[in-house]
């Protein structure tokens, strides 16, 4: 099949249309509801959708990483450092002390994000080389180990990274709607790119490797090469999401390498549906919503009043409670619905469609 044929087939496929519809809704939502809190949730969802999709992309090639926070962090640190130095240099060149937010600053941000992604992919290539021969838990351990080592190194070379205390990122795109649109654009491009790769010949090789690696090798697939390709692409997009994350939360420090950040994309993907396109997005919506809702001041206050007496040791019940809920949901999904929420939602959709059709067929 030529590329053109493949593309037309893709554009006509159902899930692609669904994806477009999801993005259209996401783009229109903030226009309808211009609430700050809502916009924060949406932006975080778009950023984490990229991150979770990048993890899912790697898992599609049979490699489960437990250290993706490493790439989130590298992308974040690189984008923040590069962005601020370019911005300062440009401002000096223009003869002012600070760069005003405009077309130029947006371009600088996009550039710094891409460079952050590239650096992350470069390091991803090196780590991928170390990981190519490893399987299941061994791979999980080694990737996890790299993220721990990264946190240590970033503390050791604090002069460059300023990782211990962290530093505020330069505001190059106005927070709120402009930033959301930037993040959404990146999400659309990134997720579609990964989707297209999954559906291409390379993606078929990933699938074969995931299914049975020795067999894939036997039919002539260079498994090491394809696993490396998966690693590099995945880490590139993880790096980009890291850059967006650093710019969005306006601060980057060592805590970005925390195991929690490594587990998040995994949990999102598993809850949403491992190996599906919309799975990671569903998971991101789910997880970000739970965490942000339980962090709302009003919710925190009411939790303190209602649950506080039971847990006198804890000042803020919301955060541990949200993680506890996420843990329980993860267990329930892995045990009772191992394919995640995606097929369940599909079933629900089919059911609703059928119900509507039945109603049309015999109007009362």
């Amino acid at each position: 099949m030529t590329l053109k044929q493949q593309l037309t087939k893709l554009v006509r496929s159902k899930s692609f249309l669904f994806l477009i519809a999801v993005f259209a809704v996401l783009a229109l939502l903030p226009v309808l509801i211009s609430d700050n809190f809502f916009l924060t949730i949406l932006t975080l969802i778009t950023i984490f959708s990229i991150y979770a999709t990048s993890w899912n992309f790697l898992a599609n090639s049979g490699q489960g990483s437990l250290g993706h926070a490493l790439f989130l962090g590298i992308g974040g640190f690189a984008a923040a450092l590069i962005g601020s130095s370019i911005a300062t240099a440009t401002a000096n060149f223009l003869g002012s002390t600070q760069l005003t937010v405009g077309v130029l600053s947006v371009a600088i941000q996009v550039l710094s994000l891409l460079l952050g992604g590239l650096l992350s992919a470069g390091i991803g290539l090196l780590i991928g080389l170390a990981c190519v021969r490893l399987k299941a838990w061994y791979l999980a351990m080694v990737t996890f180990g790299f993220s721990v080592i990264a946190a240590t190194l970033s503390s050791q070379f604090d002069a460059i990274t300023q990782g211990i205390n962290g530093f505020p990122t330069t505001t190059l795109v106005t927070r709120g709607l402009p930033f959301y649109i930037l993040a959404l654009t990146f999400a659309v491009v990134s997720i579609s790119t990964m989707y297209l790769i999954t559906k291409s010949r390379i993606g078929m090789a990933f699938k074969a490797i995931h299914g049975n690696e020795p067999e894939a090798k036997m039919i002539g697939i260079n498994t090491a090469k394809y696993k490396l390709i998966a690693f590099v692409i995945s880490t590139f997009f993880a790096g980009i999401s890291g850059g967006l994350y650093a710019y969005f939360i306006r601060l980057i420090d060592n805590s970005v390498f925390s195991p929690l950040n490594s587990f998040t994309p995994l949990i999102m993907t598993v809850i949403g549906g491992l190996g599906t396109v919309v799975g990671p997005i569903i998971g991101a919506v789910f997880l970000v919503s739970i965490q942000q809702l339980l962090a709302l001041p009003s919710v925190v206050d009411s939790l303190r009043v209602s649950l506080g007496p039971f847990f006198p040791e804890v000042s803020n019940v919301g955060a541990p409670l949200s993680f506890l809920i996420i843990g329980i949901i993860l267990l329930v999904i892995v045990i009772f619905a191992p394919k995640g929420l995606e097929p369940q939602l599909r079933k629900l959709y089919g059911y609703v469609v059928k119900m509507l059709q039945d109603k049309e067929a015999k109007p009362s």
Binding site: R133, K135, A136, W137, Y138, V142, S155, L324, G327, V334
Partner: protein, 292 residues
């Protein structure tokens, strides 16, 4: 700390003490892996729960901390049985990734439940020997560390007897060799799985109690020891208790030496660097067989 001969000796002793905790954890993980072919990444969270339980029991009843460990051991073993029956048994034999996912879910649940119950601040168990130490020239060696080493030796000896000399141990060894054949020999494999998990959890519980007496701990304390225990298993060889003992001591000492010479933040990084180097050279571990 200044690097002097007594400091190095003290570091070695600390390394042995923390190494003993790793050995217990690694032995439990190793047992569960050997018999069930399952990796429980949430094993260290059982250690954490046990440390808190021991703390609560000794504070609430004023009981000797070392006796409190025994009660905590029983409670955690029962908890282990519950975990095995409700979660791991349901994903056993499916995709290997599912075990990682279940473990992660358990880590989230245990850590945050512990944080809700016991709070975010670190605690330390007060033992009857607190503050007492042998005064040797240049160094002072606390009683608790010596007792911890003795407790670990006794526990491992009891464990060895259980595996080598009892009928249950025989059934466990048979199951670890080939579970279908064991089933044909009339062994109730599911029951053996349950007992295995309970013993593994009990070993983690002893490790937790000792850890809580020697070091201060909080709800996040379980993660690192699990990973180090896993590293020890990989390096020491799957199913080998001797390997776990040697590996545990080496790891404990290496970690403490790294802390002494390079600074506190390097402890776990060095542990991981060792693991990564070993795995990159030998993807199935030093003594691992080819394939699985």
């Amino acid at each position: 700390m200044e690097i002097t001969a007594p400091a190095v000796i003290l570091t070695l002793v600390w390394g042995v003490a923390i190494g003993c905790v790793y050995i217990l954890l690694a032995t439990g993980l190793n047992l569960i892996f050997g018999v069930m072919k399952l990796v429980n990444f949430a094993h260290g969270q059982l250690l954490m729960i046990s440390a808190f339980l021991t703390w609560t029991i000794s504070v609430a009843s004023g009981m000797n901390a070392y006796l409190a460990i025994i009660i905590s051991m029983i409670v955690v073993a029962i908890l282990g049985v519950g975990v095995e029956r409700l979660t791991f048994r349901r994903v056993l034999g499916t995709d290997k990734l599912n075990e990682i996912f279940v473990s992660l879910g358990l880590i989230y649940i245990f850590e945050n439940a512990a944080m809700l119950i016991w709070g975010p601040h670190s605690k330390q168990i007060v033992s009857p020997f607190s503050g007492m130490s042998f005064a040797l020239p240049g160094i002072s060696l606390s009683y608790d560390r010596v007792v911890a080493v003795l407790v670990v030796v006794a526990t491992l000896a009891a464990f060895g007897l259980l595996i080598k000399k009892t009928k249950i141990g025989l059934a466990m060894r048979a199951t670890s060799q080939r579970n279908t054949t064991a089933m044909l020999m009339g062994i109730n494999v599911e029951k053996i799985y349950m007992i295995t998990f309970a013993i593994g959890a009990a070993l983690a519980a002893v490790a937790g109690g000792l850890y809580g007496i020697i070091f201060s701990f909080d709800y996040q304390v379980g993660a690192m020891p699990t990973i180090i225990a896993f590293a020890i298993i990989i390096m020491g060889g799957l199913g080998s208790i001797k390997g776990a003992i040697v590996g545990g001591l080496l790891y404990g000492i290496a970690e403490q030496l790294a802390t002494l010479f390079l600074g506190g933040i390097w402890g776990s990084a060095v542990a991981f660097a060792l693991l990564i180097v070993v795995l990159v050279i030998r993807p199935n571990g030093i003594f691992g067989e080819k394939g699985e």
